[in-house]
């Protein structure tokens, strides 16, 4: 991992998934874009091997027999803050998505994503950006829009700004970052900042609305 190419350094990616077939498929498809440096099929295996490998990005399955992606995140996030996590799951249920994001994943994509999109998502996550699928943007909007007039404990932390809301809406409508930038007359960097802020708010806020929203829909 020396500085052979400074700008197009191959990203080191680690796969956590309990389905060997799926790991093989992802490895084969991603091989041209990134270096897949390791795999794990259980939570404990993942924790030890990620600590040893220190990859740039971990692709994390949500549902695994012994605790799932949540357990890996809980174990790793404190000790290895430089490792980024991108959740990759067949489930696009709201409680899985929001749960993983709040546990510290930097993005969430479903397994039907195309290889190119997945590679792009990995790159974005590695650069410190957040990855929102349209559905995830919809969930966030739904959660924050459920009760707009409810009292806020910490308005600055809890409430999405209008701009963030607009960005999320466009994301949910299927716009790419650069299209959003064009639509809102802002730079792509600003769009990324807004999206990252939404992600940060999701992780940091313990908005009771969010949990109540989940409870209302019998998600938790």
């Amino acid at each position: 991992m020396s500085d052979e190419q400074t700008e197009q350094r191959r990203l080191r990616v680690f796969l956590v998934d309990d389905h060997a077939m799926f790991r093989a498929g992802v490895r084969a498809e991603l091989g041209v874009h990134v270096d897949v440096v390791g795999e794990a099929s259980t939570v404990s295996e993942a924790v030890t091997r990620i600590a040893a490998m220190e990859p740039d990005v971990v692709l994390l399955d949500v549902h695994m027999p012994d605790g799932g992606g949540r357990a890996v995140l809980d174990a790793m996030r404190r000790s290895h803050p430089q490792v980024r996590f991108l959740a990759l799951s067949v489930s696009d249920a709201a409680e899985d998505v929001i749960g993983l994001i709040r546990a510290g994943a930097r993005g969430y994509v479903t397994k039907t994503i195309s290889p190119d999109e997945l590679a792009a998502a990995i790159r974005r996550v590695a650069e410190g950006d957040a990855v929102f699928s349209p559905r995830l943007a919809g969930f966030v909007l739904d959660a924050f829009a459920a009760r707009p007039d409810a009292p806020m404990a910490d308005p600055e932390l809890d409430q999405l700004t209008n701009r963030e809301r607009e960005v999320l809406r466009l994301l949910a409508r299927g716009y790419a970052y650069k299209e959003i930038a064009k639509e809102l007359f802002i730079s792509i960097k600003t769009v990324e900042t807004h999206v990252s802020n939404v992600l940060r708010k999701l992780q940091m806020s313990n908005r009771y609305e969010l949990s109540r929203w989940a409870a209302d829909r019998r998600l938790v």
Binding site: D92, A93, A94, P134, L141, D142, R173, G174
Partner: protein
């Protein structure tokens, strides 16, 4: 000799002919004699220091209840009991008249008291019978103890009988102590009461954990049954849909379109089954949109990424919005030549908005000919007729977005949840 068991009916308490606990009729069936004779025998034995009571309690405690049969047992007829009680009381009266109270003697009295204790203990024992507990805990799933106190009918009866049994036992013990200790000693009665309380406490200590354990056991059993049902449901679902889809995919492996359509349809149905609360497309906006998206997916073999924020009830105007959205989806599926179309809808307090976007071929809206009704009639015209508006943004090579807006009348808006 397997046939031995079938020669005579097993000795059980009868379920269908019982008056008190079914002991007499059970015995009668086992011995093959009329019930009335057994009952008469019990009554005749009654004056012998309450021997009948003792026997009855013993049988009650020991004999299992007859296997449950399909039909509901008839309601007990307590009128049957009446003549026997009368005869019994009469016999007791005759005994007392003939020999006087003295004739009963200390032993006779003690026998009676022991019989009373036995009956009380039998009642308690019977009430803590697991089969019986199952009966009434099945009707009230969560809090059996609460149910025993609060709930009507069977449970209240249970409590009454339990207390009744306890009272019988204590009265009997008090009596025994009073009989055997020096007479006219008030302290003896106190002692008796204390003995009785200790006895009851003993019963509670013995019965309590057993009862508690049985409750837990019943609860886990019930949970297990629920899990089993869910598993069976899942298995049925996988069998009916997933396996059949996979079989179809294997047969059509060469036909990419068909495989994709099958896989997508199956994925959607599994997802709905796993994650979505079911809502009727005729009532809810989100459900209607999802149904429309599913139809387009199936018909044109494309993916519609549906995101709906908020929900509300449909009416005629919302139905028009959904129809316009459907038309936009169909257009995108037919003309854009892409695999994926985004459908985003949001329910806001003052308006409903729907966006249908594709990244396909695109077109120049100004060149659409007048006779093409798809866009003008089905989308723009329909929205205008219902007080909304539609906007179509498209550029050749840059895809198309159809934006539909419908102002919501104040009273019809129900953001997210509503009371209905």
């Amino acid at each position: 000799m397997v046939t031995v068991g079938t020669q005579q009916p097993r000795l059980t308490r009868s379920r269908d002919q019982r008056v008190v606990a079914g002991v007499a009729s059970g015995l009668a069936r086992h011995l093959g004699i009329p019930v009335v004779r057994v009952r008469i025998a019990f009554v005749v034995l009654l004056p012998l220091s309450g021997l009948a009571l003792l026997l009855y309690a013993a049988f009650w405690a020991v004999l299992p209840l007859q296997e449950r049969t399909a039909e509901e047992p008839p309601r007990r007829n307590f009128m049957h009991l009446l003549p026997f009680v009368a005869i019994g009381l009469g016999l007791l009266l005759v005994q007392t008249l003939a020999f006087g109270f003295g004739a009963l003697g200390v032993t006779g009295l003690a026998g009676w008291l022991v019989a009373i204790i036995a009956v009380g203990a039998g009642v308690i024992w019977h009430e803590s019978d697991p089969e019986r507990r199952r009966q009434w805990s099945e009707t009230l799933p969560r809090v059996p103890w609460l149910g025993a106190v609060v709930d009507e009918s069977d449970r209240r009866a249970f409590l009454l009988r339990f207390i009744g049994g306890g009272v019988l036992v204590s009265v009997g013990i008090i009596g025994v102590v009073a009989v055997y200790s020096p007479a006219e000693n008030f302290g003896a009665v106190i002692n008796g009461i204390i003995f009785a309380l200790v006895g009851l406490a003993g019963v509670a200590v013995v019965a309590g954990p057993v009862l508690w354990r049985t409750y837990n056991q019943l609860r886990t059993e019930r949970e297990g049954r629920i899990r089993e049902t869910e598993r069976a449901e899942l298995a049925a679902m996988v069998h009916d849909q997933v396996l059949h889809t996979l079989a179809l995919i294997q047969r059509n492996a060469g036909d990419v379109k068909a495989v994709q359509r099958l896989a997508r349809g199956q994925e959607r149905s599994l997802r709905n089954w796993l994650y979505r609360p079911v809502a009727s497309p005729n009532e809810r906006f989100a459900a209607a949109l999802e149904q429309v998206a599913a139809e387009v997916e199936d018909t044109y073999a494309i993916t519609v990424e549906t995101v709906v924020v908020g929900d509300r009830q449909t009416d005629e105007r919302v139905g028009a919005l959904v129809a316009a959205a459907r038309e936009a989806l169909v257009n995108a599926a037919r003309h854009a030549k892409v695999q994926t179309v985004s459908l985003y809808a949001e329910v806001e307090p003052d308006q409903l908005s729907v966006f249908v976007r594709d990244r396909g071929a695109g077109f120049d809206p100004s060149t659409v000919e007048d006779h093409r009704h798809g866009v003008r009639g089905s989308i723009i015209g329909r929205m205008q007729r219902h007080g909304g508006r539609a906007k179509i943004i498209s550029e050749p090579g840059d895809g198309t977005e159809v934006r539909l807006f419908l102002p919501a009348t104040r009273e019809s808006v129900t953001t997210g949840k509503d009371a209905s």
